[in-house]
Symmetry: C2
Subunit: 181 residues, 2 copies
DNA sequence: GAGGACATGTAAACGGTTACATGATTAC
DNA sequence: GTAATCATGTAACCGTTTACATGTCCTC
């Protein structure tokens, strides 16, 4: 797959970023669907530099801290990203550990399973709130006169997250009801 | 995580199975949310045997083929599985490559993005059909007099898959409409 | 004084994917 | 004759996770 590279380019297509920024944005802005650790980001950034997909855009030195190395995407990086975006995508499976546990609910006392479902529901309710806030924020900064505003794409993806969380919550509710009767 | 072990026990809780059976069932019955390769299944089965979570239940020899080694879960395996089922579950992220691509849709011509969305939609429509068939099959063999029938748990999980596919299809439709206008 | 944010990176371990190896049978 | 199915298993690779390492500033 090696999609970490493309996840990184996806962010760099919008603005120049340091490795640290990329890591942060993945674990917040891209929260619903991607994340990465520093061990992946820094070596991959170095590789992409070698291959000419990104270049050093500037170094910000704060004397007491490691230099902040900001990279920007090159034209060749943009072409690579577009090629990938329009290329074929393998189907994915859901692979959610909690669904596996639900598959075992016949094995346990229903009264013991219900609290687990309620916890999961709450967890997804919290995620839903976060995504709803995010989509509001994005709508505020959206430039409605520009049909190619990247913010529009962000909104579309966060909206997927919103619908997903709603589904999860509804499914938990449903199962709780079934187990209660 | 190491949930491959618990995915395997999840299947073995229902009936004795060979390594081959486990692999097959994961890639079909558990289709919506889990899968595994033979390289994971056979060594893990051996490890679980050593640890006493499963025992050899019987060997079926068909002379020209490798012996079919059927395992069944032990009481200790069942306890382990129940413990895990009721234990805490880490939140998961979606990590869907196509969503990452959708995040880049502002970079490409919309007319080029639309066919990709239509392909994805079709793919999920096919999955939806499969899950709908599966849930019908399961309903046919469901023992309605038994509130602890494992089939009930299977149905609940497949229903998650159904709602997920519906969501995906609706989201694709929505985006196609947005990009067309 | 402890812990978190910032900022770079490396090392080790783990889990999953793809491919390989063997080998007879059955269906196209 | 080619490919798929059944049935076991191994080997190599790749991507991800967790932990480590360094060091200062700022907040509680």
């Amino acid at each position: 797959m090696s999609s970490i590279r493309f996840a990184m380019l996806t962010l760099l297509a919008r603005e120049p970023l340091s490795g640290y920024d990329i890591k942060q944005q993945m674990n917040s802005r891209m929260g619903p669907f991607w994340k990465a650790g520093s061990n992946q980001v820094y070596p991959e950034l170095a590789k992409m530099d070698e291959e000419g997909l990104v270049v050093l855009h500037g170094v910000e030195q704060n004397d007491y801290r490691p230099a902040r190395k900001v990279y920007k995407m090159t034209e060749s990086g943009l072409q690579e990203l577009i090629r990938w975006t329009l290329g074929p995508t393998e189907p994915e499976i859901i692979r959610d550990e909690f669904l596996l546990k639900a598959y075992n609910s016949w094995l346990v006392e229903f009264e013991e399973m219900i609290p687990r479902l309620e916890e999961k529901k709450k967890e997804h309710e919290e995620k839903l709130t976060i995504y709803l806030d995010k989509v509001n924020e994005l709508n505020d900064i959206l430039d409605r006169s520009n049909p190619r505003d990247p913010i529009l794409s962000s909104i579309n993806v966060v909206e997927f997250g919103i619908e997903y969380e709603k589904l999860y919550i509804k499914w938990c509710d449903n199962l709780i009801e079934k187990l209660k009767s």
